[in-house]
């Protein structure tokens, strides 16, 4: 069996989710900032769901310790996460447009890298970096929607992880408490939080005219 064509994959998706929704997803651009346990999972879920273009940013390389929860393979240790995830996404969803930025995101480059994304997923691991990006987007890029994550470490209840809408264009996923400095990170719970973020993207895009919905 060869790789299906773009048209075949699109038709198969449209058959299940409807032509209009498939079109809306395929015309959307979403940025994923940080490609660790959250970001690698978010990107794969969004590619599968039919998001047309992903902007992926991370400066780091795949480390052996990442294999416990991040969507990389053992033979990818040592290579840049942007390259590794691009490769994995190409195998999973060959026609998703991928733009990668192998840089450390900061105030100097947020605007340039994120300008074409309608929705931004914050998927960093350090609390300071989360705060910096969220504050920057809300202050200087008010036309964007940001979906951030805080609190997914440890083996606490999955039901403590939730999605809340903090302002018109700021959504926050996680339990809000469990810090990686106190707990290890486990694949299922990090992925749960990542899936909250990915689902929030789809729910927002699914709302009429992309108006930010009262969904949470």
């Amino acid at each position: 069996m060869g790789i299906p064509t773009k048209k075949e994959i699109e038709s198969a998706l449209a058959e299940r989710i409807g032509t209009e929704r498939q079109k809306r997803f395929s015309e959307s651009t979403v940025a994923v900032c940080g490609l660790g346990g959250l970001g690698s999972n978010i990107a794969i879920a969004l590619a599968r769901a039919g998001i047309g273009k992903l902007i992926l940013a991370d400066f780091d390389r795949v480390d052996i310790s990442n294999l416990s929860r991040q969507q990389y393979k053992a033979n990818q240790t040592g290579i840049f996460k942007t390259d590794a995830l691009r490769e994995n996404l190409r195998e999973i969803s060959p026609y998703t447009e991928i733009e990668t930025h192998c840089v450390r995101l900061c105030e100097d480059n947020y605007s340039a890298i994120l300008k074409n994304a309608g929705i931004i997923c914050e998927a960093f691991d350090k609390a300071e970096e989360k705060s910096r990006l969220v504050n920057f987007v809300l202050e200087y890029m008010p036309e964007k929607i940001i979906i951030s994550a805080s609190g997914m470490a440890g083996l606490g209840s999955p039901d403590d992880i939730r999605t809340r809408r903090i302002t018109r264009n700021f959504y926050l996923c996680g339990d809000g408490k469990s810090d990686m400095k106190d707990h290890a990170l486990y694949a299922p719970r990090v992925a749960l939080c990542a899936m909250h973020q990915a689902l929030a993207v789809l729910r927002i895009l699914d709302s009429p005219e992309n108006a930010v919905p009262e969904i949470y």
């Binding site: 960093f124 705060s131 504050n135 469990s178 400095k181």
Partner: protein, 64 residues
Amino acid sequence: MVKINGENTDSAGMTLSEYLSTTDYNRARIAVERNGNIVPKKEYETTVLENGDSLEIVGFVGGG
């Protein structure tokens, strides 16, 4: 009364910066929503909390 993270406080008249000084929040790890809008970090010093305000201070924790 000023509602902060769901609790009524008598912090009216204080600046946001003064209020934060009474708490354990690390300013490098928060985002502050006030009446539906984010408060820019550079306005923490000049934002005066008023009766009837509703704030949420989001304290980020590490992990990702």
